[in-house]
Assembly symmetry: C2
Homo-oligomer: 433 residues x 2
């Protein structure tokens, strides 16, 4: 038989998995710090629920199958399950409902470099009934900012925009019947030259004058304050545009209140999130020196979580970190701080088997004092034991032999600093902690 892991499914060695788990733990902790409650929905749902509002691509990629009489499918994101959850349980939930979910999702696309069929999404959303305060759009920024800082990732920028600006602008030019086509084009602006962009605009049958206005609008650049001033100077007479501008100003000023460094957020009028269901603020996050990673964290504000599942209106704002892909890109670029394949802070070895019981008692005590520790139990040459300690890259080594047994002390070797000392238990504990 062929023993193998399916292509497109990430499987890590322990030293890498430990880094991945640390990243997950930072994300989880930060989400909770910001008051998001955990949610855990099933990986399997009825195909009817999952495919309720999906387009053609999703349908092709989804893992769908029958068990008995039921059409089942594996979730391809965490948003549709959230919409289902709110539809089912909204009477039991307290609003605003802030939830996070860190879970695997599945897309059976053709495997290629950097693409995964099973990958983690780390989502937060804030949902309210009828209306949701705009301050939450800044809070979402603060969450992402805090996580990226804590993870000590390369320098990054969260780019933001408000969809109402472009749609209001198109309305003011009376070309809002072309909104979908223009959105699609704007999404491509970073990838194609300006002339090609203008050409494609012309292909939409719009007059040159309008196209140039549009290009000028999208290309507004500068600091956040400069962009806001330029937008104000446009004096666009359209409510949608004015709302969008007010919202953007509030998000920027509240981001300041929430202590986000100005150099980490940047208004970018070309960010649209394509044809997604967003209606207001939109976010994308890029590493300054690694633009080729693409957006590592994206999201936005939507007017209605799910009209497919229910009549009531639940507006929300949310963002998602594509953790598996981010991890893989960091790894490919040597940006992960890989340590040993062990979570242990200390390893205990004995000079000869007669001291094994002392070692077992010590490891029990260390663990009771919340120090991750282990014993090397193989009865082999001392040199072999040292080799093992070096191989697992444990920070502290405790050696027990004749002298230590006689004096009730322990020999502690700092594997990084190289020093070695004879210590009583309390001193040993203090040093390791």
């Amino acid at each position: 038989m062929t023993v193998r892991t399916l292509p497109g499914f990430m499987e890590l060695l322990p030293q890498e998995q430990i880094v991945m788990e640390n990243m997950k733990s930072v994300i989880r902790h930060t989400y909770e710090l910001f008051g998001f409650a955990p949610l855990d929905t099933p990986v399997l749902e009825t195909a009817e629920v999952l495919l309720s509002k999906s387009g053609g691509d999703t349908e092709k990629q989804i893992y769908e199958f029958k068990k008995g009489d039921t059409d089942l499918a594996m979730r391809f994101d965490l948003t549709v399950p959230l919409a289902k959850y709110v539809a089912l349980y909204n009477n039991d939930l307290t609003f605003p409902f802030k939830r996070y979910q860190i879970g695997k999702v599945y897309r059976g696309e053709r495997p290629q470099k950097g693409r995964f069929r099973e990958f983690y999404q780390c989502d937060i959303d804030i949902i309210d009934r009828d209306e949701l305060n705009i301050v939450y759009d800044a809070e979402v920024l603060a969450v992402i900012y805090t996580i990226f800082k804590k993870l000590e990732l390369p320098s990054f920028k969260i780019y933001l925009n408000n969809r109402k600006l472009l749609s209001g602008f198109l309305e003011s030019l009376k070309i809002d019947d072309k909104t979908v086509e223009v959105l699609r084009l704007v999404d491509k602006i970073k990838k194609i030259p300006e002339e090609a962009f203008l050409g494609e605009l012309a292909d939409l049958g719009l007059p040159d004058e309008l196209n140039k206005k549009l290009l000028t609008f999208i290309k507004i650049k500068g600091s956040n304050q400069q962009i806001i001033s330029q937008l104000e100077n446009l004096a666009v007479q359209n409510d949608n545009f004015k709302n969008g501008l007010e919202e953007l100003k509030t998000v920027i000023s509240q981001a300041h209140n929430l202590n986000i460094s100005p150099e980490n957020i940047q208004i970018d009028l070309s960010i649209t999130r394509g044809l997604d269901y967003y209606t207001g603020t939109v976010y994308e996050t890029f590493f300054d020196e690694y633009p080729e990673f693409g957006s590592v964290c994206s999201g936005g504000r939507y007017d209605n979580l799910s009209s497919v599942f229910m009549d009531k209106k639940f507006p929300g704002v949310g963002i998602s970190i594509g953790l598996t892909r981010l991890f893989d890109q960091l790894r490919q670029n040597g940006l992960l701080k890989i340590e040993g394949p062990t979570p242990n802070k200390a390893l205990i070895i004995v000079q000869s088997p007669e001291y094994q019981n002392l070692a077992i008692q010590l490891v029990g005590k260390l663990r009771q004092d919340d120090v991750s520790a282990d014993i090397y139990l193989r009865d082999c040459k001392f040199k072999k034991k040292m080799e093992y300690a070096n191989k697992i890259k444990v920070p502290y080594l405790v050696i027990i032999g004749e002298e230590e047994a006689k004096n009730g002390t322990y020999s502690l070797k700092d594997m990084i600093g190289g020093t070695q000392e004879q210590l009583a238990y309390d001193e040993l504990l203090k040093r390791i902690k």
Copy 2:
């Protein structure tokens, strides 16, 4: 369309999910404290890998389907994926290899009370090449003991046995050709009366005298020391039996070295783990007052992780907590300490909207100081805000109004104790922490 969650798939409200996540976090932390490294294998594997050594029941329950030309299946436990992992990566792993995995597994059995089709298993295993020290069988006990104590679960006992005792005993009686049938019967002994047990033994065609010896053996009771003495007194002349007895004695004495309370471990010669692949120590865990929960944590020692996937011999010892079922049973019996649907330690409310910016600055500061906090941003009557605070059961409420704004202080209300004080930030932080 029918909006629903599939039957047999657990989906929790936030206040329950928080308890579940806390349990997972205690389990994860303890596993790491004992030096187990995290592992995360895919939920999907090739059907060939997953079904390589399964029997008929598993095959019926498995979620299996085709995508393109590939036969896929969802994992039904974490052991087969571990066997595959060790087969694929053993050259890159350091042995002894101690791994934990907390993940969902899938069994499409008929849904019934207390049975789940998607459920968490929390597994640890210690694997070595060729030989694995018996002390690890005690370490596994210490892990489970520590977790159950930390989770503050009802009083429990870990029952243990060594399979070599029964098989050696049967060999000494020269009826080891009936080992499978006898194991199957012994597994039932707690559920059927003694006479029925003897009747079924007689049906195997064994002479009365042997059957009585067998019953006497299985019914040996007493403290761990008493059982060991009685087993020694049997003076069975069989190597298998002698090895099993030595191993059992070592596990008990090392459990003592590892500070496990004697009242939480009990030798029970009727524990066999049925027809599982165990070859030495076996474990089951029961709550003293809730035997109807069944074993909430089971496992054992095996000679070879997987002969299906590789030629090399990898003995191991492992144990698994069936977390979803355990959680469900605790919940059904009112044994969970349910708190509010929020992870927040503090909620900030304002007397009127003009103080909102002060509130936003405060929440930012609290979160920077690692306090999970939130603001209530809806602009409504003060009474409504208080109702919300009560509903989410937050431990501390911070109120900002005219006086607080003027003095640069905060009004802190202890929602459990009921006291209210005016405090500067540093004092506030100290109090909440």
